[in-house]
């Protein structure tokens, strides 16, 4: 059957299509990812094995020295402080963000939702540095907050240059992310499930705890993780608001790369460690995040 044969020749073979299709579709994003994510990460990974490297030095990987230095008490203290800031920020974002997202997603009238959401996301359009400076002028001893407190006869608060200021600054910076993701999750919440719970005898509080929270658990986990990761990587707020004892892993990494105490090897080792930690937690979230997604 010569005619059928020539027809086959014109058509791209199915196996080729099967390979080409994903290749063509993924190529642009793939190039982007490889150039701007994979390659730099590999460079950091390589640098992490070079002790005391500074800009311009030859890269000669030689052992795990940089990683061992992570376990020095001082470095562990810095990492512990980072975790404390990040966990604290996540908890505050949750406490402040959940009611807002709940109200926006479940209670607020539909036509107001977009406007209110916009208002909430607006701070994201300003520079993070500018926001930190704004907090300085609010929190400083004679700042806006204390003027307000004084005008109603309350004692002044000394928050700036201490941990509370860092938590305030980071919570403010990251709250929009928390609200946005939780809102997306809560907005999809099936109201009929809330009615079903009430129908079965659950008070509003019981409904919230036994139905709403489990329903938005994936969103809760995702938003908390996002806030946590961002808080872990924030070095502007700790530096500007945190005072003399606010060295965090992110600040240390920054100093090791672009600061006054360059050591790209140590900075890379700490970066690698953070990347591994963050990747692991994301992987865990994806694997165990959503029980409902399980199918037959």
């Amino acid at each position: 059957m010569p005619s059928a044969k020539s027809k086959d020749k014109d058509r791209t073979p199915a196996w080729l299509v099967r390979w080409l299709e994903p290749l063509v579709l993924l190529f642009p994003a793939g190039v982007w990812l490889v150039l701007l994510l994979v390659l730099p990460t590999l460079i950091i990974f390589e640098l992490s094995f070079v002790p005391g490297i500074r800009p311009g030095d030859l890269v000669i990987p030689s052992g795990l020295g940089n990683y061992l230095r992570i376990f020095e008490p001082l470095t562990l203290l810095v990492i512990g402080r980072s975790l404390l800031f990040a966990i604290g920020t996540t908890v505050f974002c949750l406490l402040l963000g959940f009611p807002v997202a709940y109200w926006l997603g479940v209670i607020a009238p539909k036509r107001w939702q977009n406007l209110l959401l916009l208002a909430f996301v607006l701070p994201l359009w300003t520079s993070s540095l500018l926001r930190s400076y704004a907090w300085i002028s609010i929190l400083r001893p004679t700042g806006v907050l204390n003027s307000l407190l004084a005008s109603v006869g309350l004692p002044s608060l000394d928050l700036l240059n201490q941990m509370p200021a860092v938590l305030i600054g980071m919570t403010y910076s990251l709250l929009p992310y928390m609200v946005l993701i939780l809102y997306a999750s809560l907005e999809k919440l099936d109201r009929r499930l809330l009615e079903a719970a009430a129908d079965l005898g659950a008070t509003p509080a019981q409904t919230f705890w036994w139905v709403t929270v489990p329903q938005v658990l994936p969103g809760l986990a995702a938003s908390s993780l996002l806030v946590f990761i961002n808080a872990l990587g924030d070095f502007v707020n700790p530096e500007l608001l945190g005072g003399p004892s606010s060295m965090t892993a992110a600040r240390l990494i920054y100093n090791k790369f672009l600061g006054a105490t360059p050591d790209w090897g140590m900075g890379s080792a700490m970066s690698t460690m953070l990347i591994v930690m963050v990747t692991l937690s994301i992987a865990l979230l994806i694997k165990y995040g959503d029980r409902r997604a399980t199918d037959l």
Binding site: A196, A198, D199, G201, A202, Q206, P214, R291, R292, T294
Partner: protein, 377 residues
Amino acid sequence: MAQTVPHNYSETGLNLGFDIELRKVFKVFNGEAAVRGVDLNIRRGEFFSILGPSGCGKTTTLRLIAGFELPTAGDILLRGQSMVDVPPYRRPVNTVFQSYALFNHLTVEENIAFGLRLKKMGRGDIQNQVREALRLVKMEEWAKRLPAQLSGGQQQRVALARALVNRPTVLLLDEPLGALDLKLRKAMQMELKTLHRELGLTFVMVTHDQEEALSLSDRIAVMNRGRVEQMGSPSQIYDRPHTRFVAEFIGDTNLITGKIEGAHPTMLWITSAEGRQFKVIPVDTGNKPLTSGAVVISVRPEKIHLQYEPPADGLNYVEGYLKNLLYLGTHVNCQLQLTSGETLVVQLPHGFEIPPPDTRLYAVWRPEDSLALPNDS
């Protein structure tokens, strides 16, 4: 929660045996009345259906009973006690939702145990009752599954079990079978009927499927535009519709518009628009008897006989030509093109030899086989 209401009934001491009473209930959404002055009395242990087209207010009525909506006006009583101020979680009713509303983060077992756990029931008791409920809906082997792993019919059974396990005073069913395919729906109808008989509970079902309502219910309320048009047994609703809407909505019928020419307690004389005379025996609807004005005559297709010659005096008839034949499995309907231009649907009797198309035929019915209804549209 299925708190059992004590049997002290209404404060007046009157026990009419009603589980649910709706008194002049109104519900207005954004200036639009979804329910306008509904009065319902649902007897203890009966299978009661609220039937109507979409948007008639039937689901809102059910939600008012469940407590998800508060009435704008009127009162809702459960076993004689006003429920208006009682939140849904304290009403002794449970609902089977239209789309089941199963908790997708819980297993079948956990879904069913949800209400019992809230009642702080002992672990062993919960286990027993859940097992019993699973047995009742024949879902024992699926106990550990998640709702997403079940078929629509299975989810329906779980929803039923989740509601029933709480032993509600009244079980509310919101289009419970709407999402199932025809065959499954028929099977589930049978099971619902059996469950109702075995449990002896009051069932209140909302449906738009008249066949489902007719076959399952002890009594039916037909709703239209926020009002109850008629309440009664299936045969009353079918054979003695009180309004043109009910006649049209329940089953198939032919409507002939006309005017009352003469009225007598035992007979109405009606002239159609084309001047043809009809006789109809009036039916007591509890309303004021019709004596004059515009009416429609409703004749069910199966009450009409076809013949080749005009009938003897005393019978109603129209003449027309045979047009389309509609094969419906158990019987055949045909459309008659009337000389007045309208069409009439007639159910052909069993064994009637089908004449060729365009045959001139006479459609004949007895005065007692048709109804005169006020032409309110």
